[in-house]
């Protein structure tokens, strides 16, 4: 059994309940292969950094899975076939990251840039004092 972190992005036009159904479908596959689900986190409708299939926004979901490789292969195959899927990325991790996903705390790239610009200013001010 390996630990995997999977993030997928779904089309903007579908309601969040349908995103939940998608998550259930994928976690169901993992369960069928005797894997376990540690976390399914819906990170909200985020602004995409660039357009994908004419979508400007996307539903982000992060999943923490414990499964065998064959389960992941099947899950990814189903993901590729899914019509509402824009992107997915599954990575094997040594340990799951604790706490909520940083994706839930930001709405998109532009918003995060504004936040960082403010913190950068603070840093330079600190530097001048020191």
């Amino acid at each position: 059994m390996n630990k995997y972190e999977c993030i997928y992005v779904a089309r903007q036009d579908i309601p969040p309940t349908q995103v939940e159904n998608m998550s259930e479908q994928f976690t169901g596959i993992i369960k069928d292969y005797n894997g376990s689900i540690q976390k399914v986190e819906y990170c909200g409708l985020r602004q995409l950094a660039y357009k994908i299939k004419k979508n400007r926004k996307g539903h982000y979901v992060e999943m923490h899975l414990e499964a065998n490789p064959d389960a992941i292969v099947e899950m990814e195959r189903q993901m590729r076939l899914h019509e509402d899927m824009l992107r997915f990325l599954t990575l094997r991790v040594k340990e799951f990251t604790k706490g909520p996903s940083p994706l839930s705390q930001t709405k998109g790239y532009k918003e995060s840039r504004r936040v960082a610009a403010v913190t950068k200013e603070d840093e330079t001010q600190e530097g001048e004092v020191a």
Partner: protein, 78 residues
Amino acid sequence: MSIPQKPSFFHRKKSCPFSGPRAIAIDYRDPRILQRFVSERGRMVPSRISSVSAKKQRELALAIKRARYLAIMPYVVD
């Protein structure tokens, strides 16, 4: 190290923001951290400017590329 030219100017050697006791974790999901290491146009900043260590720069590059694929970070900003 060289002696500072002006007595009022403190030349402090910058250290890698991902190493040492106050290190930040590199996370491909967090645009707030990653965007500090890309230019206005979305290009990665060379490590000689950002003073990221070679090892961490490799990690960072991978994280930025993953974030770009998931549309968390842009490939180009026009």
